[in-house]
Symmetry: C2
Subunit: 248 residues, 2 copies
């Protein structure tokens, strides 16, 4: 399992991903799912993946080596994509190529071959953007109405995002809320776990302001988890008991 979320606010972009992968409950490992591609001052891109690991890794490898454009002969990579939109299209194209080769074989073996990506960043001269690429290679873009996207085990961590995030949220508040969302997911799904990788990119700075891994026991995240737990406890204690029956 996996949980990744991307949050795009006025100030910038946050991407967060856990690192737990499992092939069955008896085969759990740690794999990085958030990858940052950066050429400071020129472009900052981050890609987070969920689903079948062999497929997502192959997609990334193809986008690093480059996919030959039959018309121009050019090897198209993420790093030479002229815009974020074209980069997202390249991810979609790679997904379709991989699904056509490996996905087909996996389907025949009745193995899950879903894969999904969050892709965010900015290319010089363009806007800071965030996309979600689906298993069929199509994609959607994050807008100001709902300034976040999630892949993987998204339900447990969605309520806090729905309540707390708006486009005007400060980028580090967005990171904090994203980490609370990750905490809620980790508590309810053992398939999502530490370490957590995160990236923060401010709009128009074209570089990662933070590219960081939270390891188990890291003081800030441990504190956040404890404070959030006690705040929730306090919050429901503060609400009066229901006035029905003898509870009043």
């Amino acid at each position: 399992m996996t949980y990744c979320c991307g949050i795009l606010v006025r100030d910038g972009l946050v991407m967060i991903a856990d690192t737990r992968t499992n092939a069955g409950l008896d085969n759990v490992s740690t794999f990085r799912k958030l990858h940052v591609y950066s050429e400071p001052g020129e472009r900052i891109m981050a890609i987070a993946s969920s689903g079948n690991l062999s497929l997502s890794q192959t997609v990334r490898s193809m986008l690093t080596e480059g996919i030959e454009n039959p018309e121009t002969g050019e090897l198209e990579t993420l790093m030479n994509a002229p815009t974020m939109f074209q980069a997202a299209q390249r991810i979609g194209k790679a997904v379709r190529l991989v699904q056509g080769i490996d996905g087909k074989a996996l389907a025949e073996a009745a193995i899950d071959h879903d894969v999904a990506f969050l892709f965010g960043g900015q290319v010089k001269g363009g806007k800071l953007r965030l996309f979600m690429i689906y298993s069929a290679g199509n994609f959607i873009e994050c807008t100001t109405d709902t300034p976040y996207l999630q892949i993987g085990e998204h339900k447990y961590g969605k309520p806090v995002l729905d309540r707390a995030i708006s486009f005007d949220t400060d980028v580090y508040d967005a990171l904090k809320i994203g980490l609370i969302s990750m905490d809620s997911t980790m508590r309810s799904n053992l398939g999502v776990g530490l370490p957590i990788d995160l990236m923060v990119a401010r709009r128009d700075e074209l570089t990662a302001e933070v590219n960081y891994r939270i390891e188990p026991g890291e003081p800030y995240f441990q504190d956040l988890r404890e404070q959030w737990s006690s705040a929730l406890r306090a919050a429901h204690i503060a609400i009066p008991r229901p006035p029905y029956g003898n509870g009043r």
Copy 2:
């Protein structure tokens, strides 16, 4: 969609169910999913259902009319079940009968024929118990380690239950937390909605202390939703910003 939860604490039992059903997004209706069977002083039972409505209604009708026991000739209902365990077995039996008839036809038409039940209560001389009956008619029982069970859209409302409910929680606090869990689910899934039906039965009282419907606009629930929202806002505002990068 549906969300129901049952909570079994030392003091008693809480059952909560929404009422929204839908056949596609363009066909939304209100149907009661929580049904209370009571003979005060003798037995209190409540059943909540999720999944295919035609199947869950048929199961309940069979258990009201009675399923003939081929050995004794007795018409077995919920109301004449000698124990909660045997009543749960009767629900399982009815589920299997219905799956054998309607479920098969639905499967051939590629229509979802899942169904699930929460079944809680107490029969005089027995214990207060809570069961979850699956689509195949098998069932599990709630224990003190995790004193709640959920059916339907369970993920959004699970984190608050995991954090706040223990076997020693007061029964009206359990109701309150169950309503917060319902609120979280309603916010994230449009297929779950008001009115909400609820029942509270204290251990050994063999009657429903509360059997109530929360209609839209009901002041306590509206208050709970607003207080919980502002408490969550306050809670995440109180947590310091992450110390990574320039956020500190």
